[in-house]
């Protein structure tokens, strides 16, 4: 058989890679939603959501009537010692997502169920995609529930219905939160393919998260300083350095998510980069942007989050397809 013939034959694959996908999704979701792990996380997020929203409501009551977007304030207001809800979400979302994914593949391997499952008439694709989709649906379900809960608390506590602008912004923010979780979910799943021990995979995922949360900003600033040094003290030099630093920090999903949160939840934010005074000519400062303008502002961020999720999934997919399933 010539190489060409072989390639021709290999391209033709019998049946669909989606065979069995929904069976995997259903089983995995049922596992997620009934696991003790998930209960603990739900309790944790319920406590933080309840706590921060309650605190935010106390503050809003003091200044009611002065703000058009009080439901957005429920997410952003904080009072020492408690950070705001978006502050909490910044690290709770990765935590939940990693918890859902870190033992996806190596767990099957260690329980000796992997070879038995793959001996069924399905492709490996179905198993990995099914596990990812089940995790993503679980995240979507949990966050949607939290969002509705916050709306409910707001209705009871504030006695004001949210306006359509607020609902729209919070729905976009929900979407961004789910995909922010998606990145960490797929990262954890990728590590679960690479490492045989679930604990190692979890640690690797948490280490990555910690790296982006704590060290990446420092590193980005160092890199910017050395790559675009300020030699003569010109404005252009300072600007170039600051822009490089900003571009570098945006590699981190944490930065992307934080900027999305700022743009969506503070309608008055008009730019996420640098604005020079002459660019603000004619602008009425302090006036809110309409929703579609804010969405335009975060569009690159959102697509960036989704693209990173897809890229990481592709990587996990390739690694999993090539893996030998025997010990």
């Amino acid at each position: 058989m010539s190489a060409l013939e072989r390639a021709e034959i290999q391209r033709l694959r019998e049946g669909s890679p989606w065979t069995g996908l929904w069976a995997v999704v259903a089983k995995e979701m049922a596992d997620h939603l009934t696991s003790a792990r998930m209960r603990i996380l739900e309790l944790l997020i319920l406590l933080t959501a309840g706590g921060t929203v309650y605190v935010a409501m106390q503050q809003i009551r003091a200044s009611i009537g002065s703000d058009r977007f009080i439901y957005l304030k429920l997410f952003t207001l904080s009072q020492d010692p408690l950070p705001s809800l978006i502050g909490f979400l910044g690290f709770l979302v990765p935590l939940i997502a990693i918890a859902l994914g870190f033992d996806a593949v190596n767990g099957e391997f260690n329980r000796k169920t992997l070879s038995r499952i793959l001996a069924q008439p399905i492709y490996r694709d179905a198993l990995l995609s099914g596990k990812f989709l089940a995790g993503l649906f679980t995240l979507a379900l949990v966050f949607s529930a939290i969002w509705l809960l916050i709306f409910g608390m707001g209705l009871i506590g504030l006695g004001v219905a949210p306006n359509s602008e607020e609902v729209g912004r919070l729905l976009w923010f929900l979407l961004a939160t789910i995909f922010y979780g998606g990145i960490w979910l797929v990262l954890a799943q990728m590590f679960s393919v690479v490492f045989r021990q679930p604990a190692t995979a979890a640690l690797a995922a948490i280490a990555t998260w910690l790296f982006f949360t704590v060290f990446w900003n420092i590193l980005a600033s160092l890199l910017a300083q050395s790559l675009r040094p300020i030699q003569y003290g010109f404005l252009q030099e300072a600007l170039a350095q600051a822009e490089l630093e900003l571009a570098l920090t945006r590699i981190s999903p944490n930065t992307l998510y934080a900027e999305i949160a700022i743009a969506l939840l503070n309608p008055t934010v008009r730019s996420l980069g640098f604005v020079l005074p002459f660019q603000l000519e004619g602008a009425i400062l302090g006036t809110p942007l309409p929703l579609h303008q804010s969405v335009l502002l975060i569009w690159p961020h959102l697509t960036g989050l989704i693209a990173a999720t897809i890229l990481l999934f592709a990587l996990a997919y390739v690694l999993f397809q090539r893996q030998e399933i025997r010990a």
Partner: protein, 314 residues
């Protein structure tokens, strides 16, 4: 079609290491075929290639006429696989574990329920249907593994070390299940190094060594090939004399004659020569008190074969 599994020059390399080396294996419909060999001889790799779970480096495989690398779904729909370490989702019940497999096989709910009931009955686990698998013993898990295979009503079942780690009672029950399956016309390929169990259920065996299948045949055939003798006859006589032993050695097809003690003589032969032995003994003036024969055990064939192989290598 009588040949259900055919491999031609099947080879699998991991880097420089050749796990399976130009394997030519034929398994016929309805037979129980045993793959024998030490650990690392390539048995599991062969099984994974037959299932399409590992790609061969070269060579071809046909399972029921299909190619496992190109038509894996068809092959996996008709072949049941029991891995050497069969694992289940411990927190789920036996039924939940089985229904998941049924769904992966695309069975509608009612059909799945029917097959699960009948499978659990066959492996004698009906009363454990709604118990969590974490409470199961190793033998029960193994039987649940068989139930899982039966759900897809396979034509071929492949088992990797099915009786390893089972207690004698569990192993006996399991061999009984294998016999039942065989009676239903299902072809079974099993790998093992527990020889007396292989001998008890297998129609034919293949001896694996370093990725090659060195010998194939029934246990008797292997006995003749490896030991040059397949039968062992015990003669009981009260007066063993060197003359009698000499006379017995003259019997054609007697390979080895020796006195075990003063009353028993052992004759190893290539065929059943009890009649000739008795005649010779009496002609030589001996008294015949008893005559028994046992077939060659696979243990001996195996030990002898690998001793020779190691000897040649050294």
């Amino acid at each position: 079609m009588s040949e259900v599994i055919v491999t031609k020059d099947l080879t699998k390399k991991y880097g420089d290491f050749v796990a399976v080396d130009h394997l030519n294996l034929i398994v016929h419909k309805g037979e129980v075929f045993g793959l024998l060999g030490p650990n690392g001889a390539g048995k599991t790799t062969t099984i994974l290639m037959i299932l399409g779970l590992t790609e061969p480096t070269s060579g071809s495989i046909r399972v029921l006429g299909f190619d496992p690398t190109r038509q894996p779904l068809t092959v996996k729909a008709h072949v049941g696989y029991l891995p050497d370490q069969v694992g289940f989702y411990d927190e789920l019940t036996a039924y939940e574990n089985l229904i998941y497999i049924a769904k992966l096989n695309g069975l509608p709910r009612e059909e799945a329920d029917r097959r699960i009931e009948s499978a659990l009955q066959k492996v004698n686990l009906v009363e454990m249907r709604d118990k969590a698998v974490s409470t199961f013993s190793r033998g029960m898990r193994q039987r649940l593994g068989v139930a899982e295979i039966l759900i897809k009503q396979p034509q071929i079942i492949i088992m990797d070390e099915p009786t390893q780690g089972l207690d004698p009672e569990g192993a006996r029950e399991f061999l009984e299940i294998i016999r039942t399956l065989r009676a239903e016309g299902i072809t079974i390929l099993l790998s093992s190094h527990l020889l007396h169990q292989v001998q008890a259920v297998c129609d034919r065996v293949g001896l694996f060594h370093r990725g090659k299948m060195m010998l194939v045949g029934t246990v008797d055939e292997l006995g003749r090939k490896v030991l040059g003798k397949a039968f062992r006859i015990y003669v009981e006589t009260p007066n063993t004399t060197p003359e009698i032993i000499e006379a017995l050695k003259q019997v054609p097809e007697a390979v080895n004659v020796r006195a075990l003690n003063t009353t028993t003589i052992e004759v190893e032969a290539t065929s059943d020569i009890r009649h000739e032995v008795a005649k010779t003994l009496i002609t030589a003036g001996g008294q015949l008190r008893g005559l028994s024969m046992e077939a060659q055990s696979l243990d001996e064939i195996y030990a002898q074969y690998f001793q020779e192989v190691e000897h040649v290598r050294a």
